[in-house]
């Protein structure tokens, strides 16, 4: 949780003391009152200022221990904290850095960064691709393109949130590293496989996490080295420009199985997906697990009566609302195993990331998908195939939130722009209810949530985002996806601008007035004159 606190100068001390409260939850008063930090929960702390002298300090709380770091902020941003308060990020284009390690449309991005800065956006999110950085050979990292972007961001005085992508992207096409794909050609079992034998080549199967399949190293080791190299290459930025890092956890960076090999066409209702437990290593794990449970016959494969990708839940027996096999002891056995494997996988990656970045000021994030289709059925088939054992009778997100809490990581949730009203009725989906459920689980385990949108500029999406951002549970930050031609198009950008401006509170308390603004501008002018003189020298 990251909170900006304004208080007295003695506050540094308060922050340094280890707070025993596990339930700290600060948020700002609406009118931006400088003298008080309001707390929403009755048992939380309330800082009150005693002297007339305030300073802004930024506190970082991780779950059990309290890190604190007093960052003194400048006077100019004191004035603009109505904008600061909204921690809004915008994603940079997925192909910001291409495979030859050059920055694509750098000029557009530079202009875009300026525009965002002027709008009051706090920072940008940068996808960093495994397939770009470590493309040629294992351990051979090329960070130059990304470093150039980080520098641009720093120059623009924006923050940077880095997403480490250990997956591939279809559009724009960014595959896994060449050498990994080569290994995969002879050894396809490093990829997920579905019942029909199709491989998913856009991320590695979680079953190989600890197997030395990559030139004698395990994927976990390779990810570890990647992160460590990232850390050393970006050390000048970490903690100053880079404030957050998302750890790629699976397909599309999300913690899930690739249960939908191909996204459904937009005019069709998303199908339920399929279980992805048919690669050799997954089957091995399943077999061992079944044998250990005394049911060796259950370990021979996945559920035989599950429908295929785009079928509806009721087209076969497994997900049937009533009497479906998911409710049988076998169903419970399988689904527990399947979802536990995913959580263990997430745990491996997040603990890896926390161990590397734990000693820095950055927060580590992981993304959890919003499998909202068919949420209103009892079985929640979409979530089940994706690896979340969440049904009408079982909360599958508690364990996930707990895993994040254990690693002091924050959760990114996409789909904050989706409202139930815009879902096709027949899909029985509910993004809002699912989001609420996950956020409740996170709240229980004190995991901070940050948001993302799925579509961009769909009707009503901005209102929905705003609702999610400013609602009862305050978001850690929100990352708007994503910069590009559409983002800046006249069809979209004006509404985005309006959205950002509407987030900042229009009416400020009178003591926030920058009364000496004329003087302030004057001094800026004179200093710029001085600069000009120096330039001429």
């Amino acid at each position: 949780m990251e909170v900006s606190v304004i208080g007295s100068s003695s506050q540094a001390k308060i922050c340094k003391t280890e707070l025993a409260y596990r339930d700290l939850r600060f948020c700002f008063g609406k009118n931006n009152d400088k003298s008080k930090i309001l707390s929403r929960k009755p048992n939380s702390v309330c800082f009150e200022s005693q002297t007339a002298r305030f300073r802004k300090a930024r506190l970082r709380f991780t779950l059990e221990a309290v890190h604190s770091e007093a960052v003194l902020e400048s006077k100019s941003s004191t004035g603009s904290n109505s904008l600061d308060k909204v921690r809004l990020f915008v994603g940079l284009p997925l192909d910001t850095v291409s495979d030859c390690n050059t920055v694509n449309h750098a000029r557009a991005i530079a202009a875009g960064l300026k525009a965002l800065k002027l709008l009051g956006v706090e920072g940008v999110e940068l996808p960093v691709w495994w397939g770009v950085v470590e493309n040629e050979a294992m351990g051979k990292y090329g960070w130059s393109g990304y470093l150039a972007v980080a520098e641009m961001v720093q120059k623009a005085d924006l923050k940077l949130h880095v997403s480490l992508c250990f997956h591939a992207s279809r559009q724009p096409k960014i595959p896994l590293p060449k050498w990994v794909m080569q290994i995969g050609e002879s050894q396809s079992s490093i990829f997920f496989r579905d019942r029909s034998g199709q491989h998913y080549r856009e991320s590695l199967s979680l079953a190989v996490d600890d197997l030395a399949v990559l030139n004698g190293k395990t994927p976990i080791q390779v990810y570890h080295d990647f992160c460590a190299s990232f850390k050393s290459a970006f050390s000048p930025f970490i903690g100053s420009t880079i404030m957050g890092i998302s750890m790629g956890l699976g397909p599309d960076g999300e913690l899930r199985y690739p249960s939908h090999h191909k996204p459904a066409k937009s005019d069709k209702i998303t199908g339920i997906g399929e279980f992805q437990c048919y690669d050799l290593n997954m089957l091995n794990l399943l077999k061992q697990h079944a044998e250990a449970n005394g049911n060796p016959l259950w370990g021979l494969g996945g559920p035989h009566d599950a429908p295929t990708y785009h079928q509806s839940p009721n087209s076969n027996n497994f997900f049937r609302d009533h009497g479906g096999s998911w409710e049988s002891p076998y169903g419970d056995f399988f689904l527990s195993w399947y979802s536990n494997e995913l959580i263990s996988h997430g745990n491996r990656l997040l603990s890896l990331a926390s161990s590397i970045f734990g000693d820095t000021a950055v927060n580590v994030y992981g993304k959890v998908p919003l499998m909202y289709s068919w949420y209103k059925t009892r079985a929640h088939p979409c979530e089940l195939t994706a690896g979340f054992y969440n049904t009408a009778s079982r909360d599958g997100y508690e364990a996930v939130a707990q895993m994040f809490a254990r690693n002091s990581c924050k959760i990114i949730l996409p789909g904050m722009d989706l409202s139930d009203a815009h879902q096709p009725h027949e899909s029985l989906s509910s993004p809002e209810l699912l989001l609420a459920q996950i956020r409740t689980a996170c709240g229980k385990h004190k995991v901070q949530v940050s948001g993302q949108n799925l579509a961009s500029g769909a009707p009503g999406s901005f209102q929905q985002i705003k609702k999610n951002m400013l609602g009862e549970n305050v978001l850690d930050l929100f990352t708007y996806q994503r910069m590009g031609a559409h983002f800046f198009s006249p069809e979209h950008f004006p509404s985005f601008t309006e959205f950002v401006r509407s987030l900042s509170q229009p009416e400020l308390h009178s003591d926030d007035l920058l009364a000496e603004e004329e003087e302030a501008t004057e001094s800026v002018h004179t200093s710029s004159d001085a600069n000009i003189q120096m330039q001429a020298a």
Partner: protein, 892 residues
């Protein structure tokens, strides 16, 4: 000695702080203070005070002797609340000279070039040679035997040789280069570099050049005179500071004797010379400002003592604050002597010379309830000295942490300096921030600030958009297509009609002459409609000072030289009847006044909109408006309307709505939209909800030496920026395309019709749905002919715009001319193939004499004398239309 402007090409202003004892500093203002053992504070005093562990510029204060001045010393006792010494950086100009001497060595065989400099520094001669017969300005490395010891080759074209002191006590640094006159070296080129500051010293912005043979090419940067070449025009005059010394004549004698020895090399008449040039080196100087605060026990006031060693008159520009945000205010008297009030915002106190004669000081008595003392210093040469770019802040209440305060101002300044596009944007953000704080008196001002920021954001977004959009990555392309494609074909998007519009300009520059144009046009209504036009643009309808209508006076008076208001209504009605939409030509930029103000200036309006001079922009001295500055360019013949005024906008919106409802116009042709911000246009369009809008954003294309640039991106960008500012609510005339057609068709440069990305080079290549393409209008052509389309090429122009995306506009004079049938055929071809403003163009040929393109895979066209045939593959193209220099095919 006169000073020649020698450019010091200092790459970065970030000079390191380097106080140096300096013997050569010129007048008495020099910093001999450093040598004064009685002055200033120890190094310790200066560095210890800077909070360790924070980001600070470490101050290298060197060579100051530890001795503290009496007054400041007195503050070291217990009652001191605050004591601090700040470094102050200044740039001091130090004058010196460079000399260049060419003479013969003692053995009379070789020559010697000596370059010296009188200023201290780490001087490096960066030099090279050129050989006889070399052309161009490239340097070569000199032969090895010419290089003095210590030389370092720089790449393969230059040598760097350090200048050395002749002897220990000498103030000159010098380097000598031996020359063999029989070598083929034509000239020595050099620049002088000071490694200490990184500054380069050149001669008139170019290299110094010492010609050794008859160097014919006099490009103005030669040094040294020559004899034997009779005419050296202006050589002396060019060097106002050149001092020919007695050595010259001596050298002359030498050279002539050599001449006789070496008679074969007649043209190598080398001649010794000696020349001096003065240079100015900017030396960063370190000074100090010391401040101490003491509580006065008797008065319980704070005494603030300030002193500095900056030479000359120093003015303290100061104020106090009562809170943390460092709001300047003026404290109650008493003030120190020689204090004046500056603009009611600050006080200015002249520092008094200190007793010791070095530096100056002042002391201030301040009430104890004040939180801080703020100041900046104004130095004699009108520069300001600040604390790392920010005000100095001296906390007055003892309890507060000094460190924090300083750190605060510290980080402010660093933040400011670290930004690439610093000041403007910072100011902007401040304005925006203050803009959000709604203080009533500032309402208009802050609104403007906000708008200018939004405008800036929009500009940036437009730039980003255009680049993302034009970049070839399939990703963004698809994204764009997705937005455009799903639009159903007949959906009317605001301001741009159906997308299938074809515009007819329904008048020319002479149309007012008959006095009954509306009635004449009415008779042609069905004819115009039958030609395939969907939109017609009528002349400006308001009462106007000029008969053509572009100098409107009373906006609600629609009786003009074109006809009466009733005739206009009647015309519009009959145009509607034949299915034409009607655009009104509205002039919003300027308006002619009815009355004079007290100074006799015409800026008071009458009629229904009886605005006063607040409606006139304030930055056009001709009309003495009291409004704000114009948000665009000024049109100088009439008072420009200040659209930032709420009441003006309200009235104009009402007027447009009246024109829509009462008169029946469907949309607008907006005159001279360069004159005001597009954001206001958006406002007007939002209010009047026109069916179709086109703005006239006409400025000059980019030319280099009268040759039009191929890349007109900047030009079309300006138009796109305007459209963007209107939020895309309307289109704009594609002036870029017209300009490029001029060159392409007029000069047979058809290659111009493809931009670097292989798209049409005008606005139509970037934002086709908002581009209104045209080749002529009442200004460019007609009887005015300000920018007439190349004669005889009109049909090629129409073959281009009527087959391409964008909304084509056809000029009245062309509709009713011998081109009429050809134009009609092109229009019907366009309509038959359902080419619309968003159609896709595939340019297949853009060569010197031919341009060809395929549009929407339905039409193929070529213009120009060169040959082109559409591909004969699975698609069968058949010729649909052919004319002078153009041909169009359609799929059969």
């Amino acid at each position: 000695m006169t000073t020649v402007a020698i450019d010091s090409l200092l790459p970065k202003p970030g000079l390191s702080f380097r106080p140096k004892a300096n013997v050569l500093l010129k007048p008495s203002r020099s910093l001999n203070c450093y040598r004064n053992p009685k002055l200033l504070f120890s190094r310790g005093a200066c560095s210890c005070s800077f909070k360790p562990g924070r980001r600070i510029h470490v101050v290298e204060a060197s060579s100051t002797d530890a001795a503290v001045i009496d007054t400041f010393e007195a503050f070291s006792s217990d009652d001191v609340l605050y004591k601090e010494t700040f470094p102050v950086k200044r740039i001091e100009k130090v004058e010196g000279k460079i000399y260049i001497r060419l003479d013969q060595s003692e053995d009379q065989k070789n020559w010697q070039l000596a370059v010296g400099c009188s200023l201290p520094g780490k001087w490096i001669l960066h030099w090279g040679v050129s050989y006889v017969g070399d052309s161009g300005s490239e340097w070569d490395q000199p032969p090895k035997d010419m290089r003095p010891p210590g030389s370092i080759p720089i790449k393969d074209y230059a040598i760097e040789t350090p200048l050395k002191k002749l002897s220990k006590g000498d103030m000159f640094h010098e380097v000598k280069i031996e020359l063999n006159p029989s070598s083929a070296i034509a000239a020595i080129h050099f620049v002088l570099k000071d490694e200490e500051t990184g500054a380069w010293y050149q001669h008139r912005g170019r290299d110094f050049k010492v010609p050794l043979v008859d160097y014919l090419e006099d490009d103005g940067n030669m040094v040294g005179a020559k004899r034997g070449f009779g005419i050296w025009p202006g050589a002396l005059g060019q060097f106002s500071n050149m001092l020919l010394k007695s050595e010259t004549s001596q050298a002359n004698a030498q050279s002539s004797s050599k001449e006789s020895k070496d008679s074969k090399k007649e043209n190598r008449q080398l001649e010794g010379f000696y020349e001096e040039q003065s240079i100015v080196k900017k030396v960063p100087m370190g000074n100090f400002v010391s401040v101490a605060v003491r509580k006065c026990s008797e008065t319980s006031k704070n005494i603030l003592y300030l002193e500095t060693d900056i030479p000359g008159d120093v003015l303290v520009h100061w104020g106090v604050c009562r809170d943390d945000v460092q709001t300047w205010e003026i404290p109650a008297a008493p003030y120190p002597p020689e204090t004046t009030v500056f603009k009611n915002k600050a006080l200015r106190t002249q520092l008094q010379p200190k007793g010791t004669g070095n530096g100056s000081r002042a002391s201030f008595t301040l009430d104890e309830d004040l939180v801080g003392f703020l100041f900046v210093l104004k130095l004699e040469d009108n520069t300001w000295s600040k604390f790392k770019g920010n005000d100095f802040f001296i906390p007055l209440s003892g309890a507060t942490s000094v460190v924090g305060q300083l750190a605060q101002s510290d980080s402010v300044s660093e933040e400011i300096s670290s930004k690439a596009y610093t000041d403007g944007i910072i100011t902007g953000i401040r304005n925006l921030v203050s803009g959000l704080n709604s203080k009533k008196s500032q309402k208009t001002k802050t609104k403007e600030a906000q708008e200018s920021i939004l405008q800036e954001i929009e500009k940036l977004a437009a730039e980003a958009y255009s680049i993302f959009r034009s970049s070839i990555t399939t990703f963004s392309e698809e994204a764009v297509l997705e937005i455009e494609a799903p639009k159903p074909a007949v959906k009317i998007s605001s301001g741009t009609g159906t997308g299938f519009e074809i515009l007819c300009q329904g008048f020319n520059w002479e149309s007012h002459k008959s006095g009954r144009w509306y009635m004449e046009l009415k008779e042609k209504a069905s004819e115009i409609s039958s030609l395939g036009f969907t939109v017609i643009w009528l002349p400006p309808p308001t009462e106007s000072v000029s008969p053509e209508g572009y100098m409107p006076k009373d906006l609600y008076n629609l009786n003009s030289r074109y006809g009466t208001i009733d005739e206009l209504k009647e015309l519009i009605k009959s145009l509607h009847e034949v299915g034409l939409k009607v655009l009104g030509d509205v002039v919003l930029n300027h308006r002619c006044a009815h009355y004079q103000n007290q100074n006799g200036v015409w800026n008071i309006f009458g009629g229904r909109l009886d605005w006063d001079d607040r409606a006139v922009v304030g930055d056009d001295p001709h009309f003495q408006g009291r409004g704000n500055k114009s948000s665009g360019d000024n049109f100088h013949a009439a008072p420009n309307i200040d659209h930032s005024q709420e009441f003006v906008r309200k009235d104009l919106k009402e007027w447009l709505c009246w024109l829509r409802e009462e008169i029946g116009y469907d949309g607008w042709r907006l005159d001279f939209v360069r004159g005001f911000w597009g954001g206001y246009v958006k406002d007007y369009l939002d209010a009047s909800e026109p069916y179709f809008v086109v703005g006239e954003y006409w400025d000059s294309l980019n030319y280099t030496y009268s040759e039009m640039d191929h890349d007109q991106d900047a030009h079309r960008q300006r138009i796109v920026d305007w459209i963007n500012a209107t939020n895309g609510a309307g289109g704009a005339f594609d002036v870029t395309t017209k300009g490029i057609l001029h060159s392409a068709l007029g000069k047979c440069e058809y290659w111009r019709l493809s931009d670097q990305k292989g798209k049409p080079p005008g606005v139509v290549g970037w934002w086709p749905s908002r581009a209104v393409t045209f080749i002529e209008n009442h200004d460019t052509g007609s009887t005015q002919g300000h920018w007439r389309f190349p004669g005889g090429k009109e049909m090629q122009g129409y073959a281009y715009i009527l087959t391409h995306p964008g909304t084509p506009a056809v000029f009245y004079d062309h509709v009713f001319s011998h081109y009429r049938s050809e134009i009609a055929a092109l229009i019907s071809l366009r309509n038959r193939n359902k080419i619309h403003c968003r159609s896709t163009v595939k340019i297949v040929k853009a060569e010197r004499d031919v341009y060809a393109a395929i549009i929407d895979d339905k039409l193929a066209m070529k213009i120009g004398p060169g040959s082109y045939e559409p591909p004969s593959g699975s698609q069968r193209w058949s010729s649909a239309l052919e004319g002078n220099g153009y041909k169009v095919w359609e799929l059969s």
